[in-house]
Symmetry: C3
Subunit: 312 residues, 3 copies
């Protein structure tokens, strides 16, 4: 693997998922692979799971890790040709090249601002790192994608599926704040590549990017969509068409124990209790969110392992 900025960077998905699951048996088996290799983790935004699981994954592989909150460095400029008279002190051209000399792999988290659709869709932060860095880039959640989360989700579904081709439903949920589409996008893309029966349900008008959902069935009737589901992935995203707006806070879209039935409940976390999903779901045996979060370590570890192998 040359980088992991999007799901398609994985060449053999099923094999990768199996290998990730095998890593759990002995997480330290490949400690020599990362010896004298450094992962630099750059955060433009808050992180708990991604920060800890990715750092742990790297250390499981014997890597050194340096974590930098970009706020502790210099405000970066991403526009080409700009006269840097305002707030930005350093251009990504220099920053990415420089960091590449201190790192064998660079991992970046950079959320969208959700105010300028074209700018967010351009993925200018992630793409700039890809363009100017001279080492592999790992996406720790960008404006439009969260492929490490999606890989952890795929590992979780693969581990817990009780039948071939389980039914998986992505169900929109309300949220007080405007959230990115990144997690939903990557989950959709991942499901389209797994052997699952996949449906999306959300209020009318809350369609995700058609270039990502493509032929995936969309059902505006949540109850119908959830019927006979094996896995229900609940997630809020702000409106994609009326970009970044919170147009719907309808509590009826909250996931309840009643709606969930016997399905397994998934969420990337953090989750707002009794807004996105009621306590009764999260506190039940049906919730697999903690296992999902655990799989973040092995998703990151298999990605770093494959990238390190590519560096040999």
């Amino acid at each position: 693997m040359k980088k992991y900025t999007k799901i398609k960077d994985i060449s053999n998905l099923n094999e990768t998922i199996k290998e990730a699951i095998l890593l759990k048996i002995n997480p330290f088996e490949f400690q020599d692979l990362g010896k004298h290799k450094t992962l630099v983790m750059l955060f433009f935004n808050a992180s708990l799971r991604t920060r800890l699981s990715t750092e742990k994954a790297a250390k499981n592989l014997g890597m050194d890790v340096m974590v930098l909150n970009v706020n502790d460095a210099w405000q970066l400029e991403f526009e080409d040709g700009t006269v840097m008279y305002a707030n930005t002190s350093e251009h990504i051209k220099e920053a990415a090249q420089v960091i590449s000399q201190y790192a064998d792999i660079i991992a970046v988290r950079a959320f969208p601002a959700l105010t300028d659709k074209a700018k967010d869709q351009s993925e200018y932060i992630l793409k700039s790192f890809e363009k100017f860095a001279t080492v592999p880039i790992v996406n720790m959640e960008s404006a439009t994608a969260h492929p490490l989360q999606a890989l952890a989700d795929a590992i979780t579904i693969t581990e817990l599926a009780e039948k071939p081709k389980p039914k998986v439903v992505l169900s929109w949920a309300p949220h007080p704040k405007a959230l990115p589409q990144a997690v939903a996008n990557s989950f959709v893309e991942m499901m389209r590549n797994l052997e699952v029966d996949f449906t999306i349900t959300h209020p009318e008008g809350y369609e995700l990017d058609k270039n990502i959902t493509k032929e995936t069935p969309i059902n505006y009737n949540q109850k119908e969509a959830l019927k006979d589901a094996d896995f229900v992935y609940v997630k809020n995203w702000s409106n994609f068409n009326d970009y970044g707006k919170v147009l719907n806070r309808d509590e009826n879209w909250m996931m309840t124990k009643d709606k969930l039935g016997n399905a397994k409940f998934m969420h990337c976390l953090p989750v707002r209790r009794n807004i996105v999903v009621e306590d009764a779901v999260l506190d039940s045996e049906n919730s697999v969110v903690i296992k999902q979060a655990n799989n973040r370590t092995y998703a990151a570890q298999i990605v770093l392992k494959q990238i390190l192998e590519g560096l040999l």
Copy 2:
């Protein structure tokens, strides 16, 4: 040891103190014990000594360490059953379980707000971690206790005592800001478990929690209390009865070289010079605050060692 949230978690105090002192001879002797074990350190508040000494202690034992300022992650919710519509993004139920999967031990620092006595006394942050985490918890100073500091204090007194059953005095000092009772509480509790002659002196009305001080003699006359003292531990705390208030700024309670006499001066640091204690004390041979701070490493190390042994 299964955890270290309070002094009573130490089963054999005298033995533990002796072992801690022995660690100084070869701090790296038990490097295999922490191999492939991870300490996650979570900070809700500022830290210098606790941060550096605990991280160092863990590394001395061969552990990996991940440090996370909670501000760099998500604002946590601690109330049960709440509808998370406001500022909190993640419930401690998820956070503690999730972090437990990335950590073999979790250390937490969470100061009191000093505005709601019942809430602070409930130790809801520390207790929530204890309740929901699935790995041992270490208290790096909670609302009401600082047991790692108290253990370092006990090590210091044990090392420096020049006679059996030395006289130890805890002497309140003025301070411009409202400070927690945590350090004083844990010191009192620790002294009640050591072979020392222990007295507390503070202005009338500045009584600590009676459930902690119990039968400890309290003398409102500082001069009398300090008579023939071998160790004088100076510390401010805000009022416990009129909770969190600064009711007294009387400079006469500042520790001076004159008052101290031949006793050894102790303080947990940070200390405000010429408010809590005059320069002449801190800059004299009688001050053992630097040695005390050094013992933070070995207090943390013996605690982590005993917890790691409990994990075997």
Copy 3:
């Protein structure tokens, strides 16, 4: 080496530069030297290169590293004898002694405030650490000096010089904000110790400290100064006489491809594009800023190596 707070702490500059270059062949050759040794890095200010390169250098040598933003600890007091009633919680006397017990080497970054010349020139932060710490201090940029940068600059010039005694020009550049003189000061001092033909060019009135520039030729005519230059180091600094003021924003002082000619372009980074230097320079083969930044690792590593050797 007992410490590295200024260039003169290097006893044999040419030998040290050569050794630094040799470190690149096998950066991990001296991993045993740092085993069980801890570098504590303290940041009062923002950092990208210094943070990552110094941490990496220490790890290359097998050291443990603990990074602390001083904002995450306590506000420090530096005045002697002060009554600490205001904002500062801890005196440098305690802080430096305490941290020395957790560290084998302490590295400090502390920029000048640029409002009080005498205070900045006193280097009270760096000097206080030197005075009260009991372990070697490394300067990661202080009020008036950036000797790790200057050493990286010397390595870069030594590596890339195509003839003996190359002509080196330090050329002032405009900048919207008031910047320290530290980088320029250390570069000047370093150049005075290298076998180079060295000239400074800046607008009249922008003289650096005469105690540093001494007999170095100063030419107010940039074009004349740049003639036949082999290396041009471009850097803004705020006015030293009318201290900390931005008295000149003349765009004509910006470095252009035309002015640079065949010389190699140097800058410590971060650099504001099209203010300090035009894109055409930074994006050309003549720019060696990325190589310079890479040499930060080896400058830090040779310094830490020599200090570690001094600890044996």
